[in-house]
Symmetry: none
Subunit: 412 residues, 2 copies
Amino acid sequence: MTAEIIAIGSELLTPFHQDTNSLYLTDQLERLGIAVVQKTVVGDQPDRLSQAFADALKHADLVIGMGGLGPTADDRTREAVAGLLNRKLEHNAEVAALIEQRFRARGKRMPEVNLRQARVPEGADWLPNDNGTAPGLWLTHEEKKIILLLPGPPHELKAMFEEHCLPRLRHLAPKQAFASKVLKVVGLTESEVEELIGPIYREISNPETTVLAAPGQIEIHVRATGSDTAEALRRSEALAGRLESVLGEVVFSSGPENLEQVVGLYLMMRGATLAVAESCTGGLLGQRLTSVPGSSRYFLGGVVCYSDKLKTQLIGVPLSLIKRKGAVSAEVAESLAKGVRRRIRSALGLSITGIAGPEGGTPDKPVGTVFIALADARRVKSEKHRFLGDRERIRWQATQAALSLLRRKLHK
Amino acid sequence: MTAEIIAIGSELLTPFHQDTNSLYLTDQLERLGIAVVQKTVVGDQPDRLSQAFADALKHADLVIGMGGLGPTADDRTREAVAGLLNRKLEHNAEVAALIEQRFRARGKRMPEVNLRQARVPEGADWLPNDNGTAPGLWLTHEEKKIILLLPGPPHELKAMFEEHCLPRLRHLAPKQAFASKVLKVVGLTESEVEELIGPIYREISNPETTVLAAPGQIEIHVRATGSDTAEALRRSEALAGRLESVLGEVVFSSGPENLEQVVGLYLMMRGATLAVAESCTGGLLGQRLTSVPGSSRYFLGGVVCYSDKLKTQLIGVPLSLIKRKGAVSAEVAESLAKGVRRRIRSALGLSITGIAGPEGGTPDKPVGTVFIALADARRVKSEKHRFLGDRERIRWQATQAALSLLRRKLHK
């Protein structure tokens, strides 16, 4: 079974916007054993839209259109596809009621234009949208081709795909199964990872292994095929296990968890609480830790002491220490970790102080210099890092290093 | 003149890689007045490749293929296009000499496979590659269609395009120029924006207007053509001006700036300093404010008081107030804003307290209930919001609303 993905929207043909939904869908479809053979981006013009769907129906068994289901006049996917397949668009009272209810829940009146979203091509199934007003549409064409129309906003698309499309596609997908496993590594470079595991995975064609560098971490994707899921799973896990044993404790996750989730699990398991003090990351560390649902069980709070004065005022870092060693120093990082732990009365205190740039670097402490520290009741440990990249990347890597330091401590 | 861009490579159909060259090319082509009408990503299979070029020649006057010009067996763009146009591939001695010379300069012998790159379709012009071994190809089809084949690596593609394609395209491009403008709106829904400006922009085909919903904001893209850049600019600015005057102060930017940058500019202009107290957003508000280079000039710091106790301990919110009104209430939001302003000694204090979910909602205060408050020396103002979506979206929208409240105050 083959698929083509069509991203719809004139904005996606400008230099400013890019389709990213197709990466998610490709991943989901691959797991079902459905190969994506083409991706297309097309604007809102009805003739171009119809042409794109007509072409795609030649290439693929499953055509997924994303976007252009909104309420406004430039949302034309419904009309274009209905026209191409010679289907009438009919007002659907059930869909209209759901849209109206959504507005009512927010205390708003449904604007007239939103009724366009309640128009469903004859013979199509509509898919509920729990996160927006645009319903999805599932059409069968000439008995064997499927056209799936999904809303463009990523969170709407994902939820709808997982709830209302995956189960149906699973029935239709071929009997070849895929399984993949991702090992996530922090603290090694891509080439260091490659040197360690290359000699093992390069000999093996099933599973296929790909090493990918993401900011602040390396991901190893292991993807196996088999005649059923159990076989594919066995293959991917066997190789992932071998790679993991070679890599050792730098692997922080062999599942979907990210670093903040792994750290959260450890904190919960140990019944430990955490407070953070951050300077150059400006709140990013706290934001990442609290992005995990239920994080209030272990994360008490934090202080963003962006100015030097605040480091003294809010955390009690001695001003003389800042003067002597500089705000970006191992000593100040340690004082921040100890101080925030004491002030907030948590079991652990984690701190970051550094220079994210683009200004503020010196020959001695260039942009990208970051100190992190972790304190418990008995001791404090700090690390010096030097990150490359722009402000955003440096800040991300700084939080990645801080979370990694915390993970290693909790892991012991 | 219209263009279609085809990105070639099976890796671009995996969840891990994405074509980014097309953003660069779109920008370059737009400046020439050449509209990109479709973008396609296709794998290395010869039949799919030919099909993609055949389809593109139907849509566009100029078809640009990127990638698949390497020396290995899975680089098949040359063969596919030559086959499609019925042209023989001929060994080109001049190209071969250049490739060999490139290897020699690095003290290496040219591997035999690289001779594939010296094969040029009959009647094609080849374009020198100053940064790699793959030459580009320029083909004219049926006297009026142009096919341009460029190497995939971005630095090779850019240099080749600018040096060897731009000058030729400039001659061929129409005398038409493009200009675009983006208005960013916060505080209205997509359909509310549509109701306000639809009657104006729907009458006008040049500029073309598109309304886009992004999390927590709406973008209005206005794109005009004209016989020269000045004319196109005049048109886009005239319409953008009309739309802006109808929308009023909800427009926070008519340029590339995001909300945190706009707020930063205002704070800088007024010489005001800011401190934040955030609960459910866990640091996101501080992180966004400090993502702007130079934000240390106005952002002093913040407190993430995730637990109730910390709201009292770090900011001085009376425990009795939290008990009486609840941590998620207008009164606590106001007390947080006033408190953090006082503690951190900033001109302004901004606060967020809410329920980001998935747990913690009550019938009275469901998930998504968020209070924000802004305090200056004389008064404090709070707002109640009810956001929909998952944890991540609720948190994002909460910071968007807080920044928006701050912007409106500074705007006055």
